[in-house]
Symmetry: C2
Subunit: 340 residues, 2 copies
Amino acid sequence: MQKPIAIRDVAQAAGVSTATVSRYMNGKFHAMSADTRLRIESVIDAMGYKPNDVARTLRSTKSNTIAVIVSDILNPYSIAILQGIEEACAAFGYTIFVCNSRELPVKEKEFIEMMLAKRVDGFVINTTGGNDGLIASLAERTPVVLVGRKISQGAVQAITVNNAQGMALAVDHLRAQGCRSLALLSPPTTGISPRMERVEAFRAHAARVGADGIISEIQIIGRVQVEPVADALQHIMARRDPRQRLGIIATNGMLALAVLKAAKVLGYAIPADFLFIGFDDTEWASVSYPSLTVVAQPTYEVGAAAAKRLIAHLIKKEPQNGPDAIELPVKLIPRDSTLT
Amino acid sequence: MQKPIAIRDVAQAAGVSTATVSRYMNGKFHAMSADTRLRIESVIDAMGYKPNDVARTLRSTKSNTIAVIVSDILNPYSIAILQGIEEACAAFGYTIFVCNSRELPVKEKEFIEMMLAKRVDGFVINTTGGNDGLIASLAERTPVVLVGRKISQGAVQAITVNNAQGMALAVDHLRAQGCRSLALLSPPTTGISPRMERVEAFRAHAARVGADGIISEIQIIGRVQVEPVADALQHIMARRDPRQRLGIIATNGMLALAVLKAAKVLGYAIPADFLFIGFDDTEWASVSYPSLTVVAQPTYEVGAAAAKRLIAHLIKKEPQNGPDAIELPVKLIPRDSTLT
DNA sequence: CTGAAAGCGCTTACAG
DNA sequence: CTGAAAGCGCTTACAG
């Protein structure tokens, strides 16, 4: 591993000072004669000089690097967000560190500190919901944009989707399809804004329509796996009034997948035994059995918008202009799982 | 954004030199009195000192950072690999840069140079297949481990799967299910070793069994989207001998998904009109219609093995010990799409 | 056991 | 238009 060539080598070969080479590398051509500029250019080409970003960062306190902390990299939702972030960053010359907190606040905290030590220029966080205070204070000294999940304190920028609208669409669709009985399946909501919002919206909607005799219930699924979901399904089916058409909603894509698997295991037919709506328009939603009616979130756009917003701050060096929360719209895509 | 506290501040407060604080930070306690050690410890706790990794890296030429370049971050295959890499890295204190070359050799080259400038300690690459020379020479001066795809030159470490075995399993299964006519769908194979190996294995197998009258054909799909796949399917169906049971194989998960979608659009029933096997046991393979027989690859393990191998090099500083190619086994998971 | 000093590879006022 | 010099925050022989 021979030593890479440094700015000093270029300066020597071109017969100028390192300051001048540095100016060249930073595009400050206006303060430079055409002659030196050309000379430096050809030396660099010949030697294949690439500046050391680490040294640059140390000196300029600008790393062109962004930390992305996702709560669950296995979730297709996270991937879509990641893709949106990655592409926006690549377009502006930013590189991303990817950290997976696996829904563990402790890991999230560790990653934040590690990334701070690496002097990233900013953060995009899909938070576990367990570090609100830390993130709020982080945002006071470093640019931070939250994706998908908001925190309860501080003025931190966040790009989310309209979860209340999404749930309203789902409930209305099920009612329009004749459901008089509704059930909601959600992972634990503690500290996780979209889950709280969705459950809350379901509750509000059920209450509103309670007058016309709709029965509704909410099941919290501790681990998103087939067995607990199967248990919840059985519970719901046992209590249902067979004379009323039942509609079930799962608040995210992984949960929806588990419901399909559990229904298969238990021998329930969808939509014959119950209508079903999931969140997240995953790539497989149209080929599952049955194909899945979903509330589609603009996940890629959420990621891209977050990255662009963060980069705008970094470039303009302007303070975070207020607690700007951007909420993107969602839409319902009807498929066979709610066909009657 | 107040200035973060530096090693100098700690040294001053503790009444020692920065050298001693540095020794403390690097765990060189043996060369330090218990007294100073405790003193430094309490000062660090009190001040909340976190060393600047950028400075450390500049000085020590060790960044604890690894570049991961995947060819398509949208592919669930890449995600599983990424997860394996991420977890192995996190366990050893390494952080990963994630780059998505989108199957473009030009982007891949750019990323390699960018990561080199950031002084990453090593690379894990799922290559586009268009930079074999560059990667071979890169591997001579920096630790590199390839995942999933090998290159044609140089002695670069690679973790792959046994593609010939996978294709053999698929072909044998289809034959056992009574198929006398076989078709293979693959994206363009140029430079991409697993694709070449799979197509080659299919060809070899078809030739071997040609004696007992099997008919086989290979269709290359330029873009993995529904329309081109539908065209290929129609072509295959038009030429098939209706008296012989037909089996179709798709060489990766995204292609398999496109086949299911295309079959749906065209009104073909699986397995009634043809049996079907995909590669990659994606999370949805068991809930698709029909549930999908697949050749499952140990994708997570490929990623984890690559990261561990790379880290072993980095820690031991031992030279890449030979062109070690590790090939993990695959297995066939039979489901409804090949049920007769 | 501990410190002074050099240096990693850059950038940036400052001076001319 | 250009260079000498200081300094970003660490680590590491070297000397004692």
